[in-house]
Amino acid sequence: MRKLKEFVIEKFVLICGIASIFFVVLIFLFLLKEGLAVFKIAGPFKFLFGRSWYPISEPPQLGILPLILGSLLVTFGAAVISIPIGVGCAVYIAEVAPVKTKEILKAGIELLAAIPSVVLGFIGMVTLVPMVKNIFGIPTGLTALSGSIMLAFMAMPTIVSIAEDALYSVPKNYKEGAFALGATKWQMIWRVMLPAASSGILAAVMLGIGRVIGETMAVMMITGNAAVIPHSILVPVRTLTATIAAEMGEAVVGSEHYFALFAIGIVLFIISFAINVTADLFLHKRQR
């Protein structure tokens, strides 16, 4: 009887384990099946490097270069803002802050991670967008910069919590050794802790970026969604994710537009896969 119970539970857990892999494979195959059909209409080169995105015209123009650049620009902006602040915050929490402050800060960061992105987008739309418009004196505040700032808030919790973990797991004797050699606290952090935790911090950064590039709702609400090739961070952009979200409702199933949106899904999949694998490599390097 006990043996049977063990057997059933074991198999059940095994099925659970296989299920996730099974679903990924299914999803990926579905994406490929629906997405690759677009290349019958527009060649891969024309699709990836075309400069105009007019999906519902006859014939449709399906060039996603402006969308790719839009996504990359918003992500780059968010990275520039969130990495220094996030890593700084992690260092403060791990090394400097007294216990009480530490607890409050950690709770605060968890709270930041809990804000739904549509709420952040909405807040950004009514507060940040007019501010950006007035500060820079530009025609509209719905720009890549607004998106970057809002997304930086979203990347920060990921970066802080993983970077803090990395700093925390640096062996204590490194720190004690540094102090014994007469290093100041800053010298210890800068010369010992950060280099020792560098691979973990890089992983934190990659995961933060992964979160940003896949984000949809907030960017759709505050980046203006104009499919032009951006020449500065103060112009409206349209991202890959926002394009899928905004247009899927209309796309006639089985049309060029529909296939093109799935192909955008493949591009996004490849980008976030690359980012996650890079992060994984850094994390494993740390564990070795």
Partner: protein, 288 residues
């Protein structure tokens, strides 16, 4: 790491699935109405009044865009599709393949208002000037007798029937061979309310939406067919007598000729009471 990626993909896929929900239940006393965001308020007002006077009957109204409505009608997940544009040839073909025969019924008219910020001195435009602004040939308000400011062009997303109507009838002037497109720099906003908000806060913005969204925070522009015609304001009277040049029919589509509860509801829309509701929700009745 992979898990995060899977989650992201699942979310994308879920979003796709949600756009065509399976309502399944085919109770005789319950119908599903789906489609045009422009018509959602109208549809809901109809449904409320209808259910009040016919207790026991149930009408559910949801939005999502005209294309979403057609997609659900074709997949059999709704009984009535609301649309602010004609059904496309491609959609008819898809419907026939699934054994659905879309039947068009005109239920109301909608005047499209072109709006600017109240502080903008420009208050009248010709259709040619409008086309110039929205295709990006006219880029400064100076060219239209306004201040020396860059024009911020606001448009709805491509999943909106309003977007399609405006492109075909204003940008392309009803010419099926025309290749005019919205300027790539046009900001694509996801709702009429978003356009209303941006116009209210931005002195150099111009946008378009159904007449119902005009408030004192935006100034509707009077439109003339050409320079020698009268400039007409977007008011109900001008839409009914056909003087205002940018107005469009609003449709509902059923599968074959309406029967049973669907017929009862469609008849209610076209009744005196139903058409009064059209007027109350800021649209223009087809029958007076």
């Amino acid at each position: 790491m992979e898990k995060k990626m899977i989650k992201k993909l699942l979310i994308i896929l879920l979003a796709l699935m949600i756009t065509t929900p399976a309502s399944g239940a085919k109770n005789k006393n319950s119908i599903q109405v789906k489609g045009s965001d422009t018509m959602v308020n109208l549809g809901q007002a109809w449904a409320e009044k209808f259910m009040e006077s016919n207790p026991g009957d149930f009408v559910a109204v949801t939005g999502g865009g005209s294309g979403t409505g057609f997609a659900s009608l074709i997949s059999g997940t709704c009984d009535i599709a609301m649309s602010s544009r004609d059904i496309k040839a491609k959609e008819i073909a898809l419907a026939k393949a699934k054994g659905i025969a879309p039947n068009e019924i005109k239920v109301a008219l909608d005047g499209l208002a072109v709006v600017v910020n109240p502080s903008n001195p420009v208050d009248r435009l010709t259709l040619d000037q409008l086309a110039g602004v929205f295709t990006g040939k006219i880029i400064n308000w100076k060219e239209l007798g306004g201040k020396d400011e860059r024009i911020v062009v606001l448009s709805r997303e491509v999943n909106s029937g309003t977007h399609v109507y405006f492109k075909e009838h204003v940008l392309r002037k009803n010419d099926p061979d025309s290749r005019e497109e919205f300027s790539p720099g046009a900001l694509m906003l996801s709702s009429s309310q978003a356009i209303a908000d941006e116009v209210a806060g931005n002195p150099s913005a111009i946008g378009y939406y159904g007449m119902g969204y005009i408030s004192k925070n935006q100034k509707p522009v009077s439109i003339a067919k050409d320079e020698s015609s009268e400039y007409e304001a977007p008011i109900i009277e001008n839409v009914v007598n056909g003087k205002y040049p940018i107005s469009r029919p609003l449709f509902v589509y059923t599968n074959g000729f309406p029967a049973g509860l669907v017929k009862k509801f469609v008849d209610f829309m076209l009744s005196k009471e139903g058409q009064d509701i059209v007027l109350v929700t800021d649209f223009v009745p087809v029958k007076r």
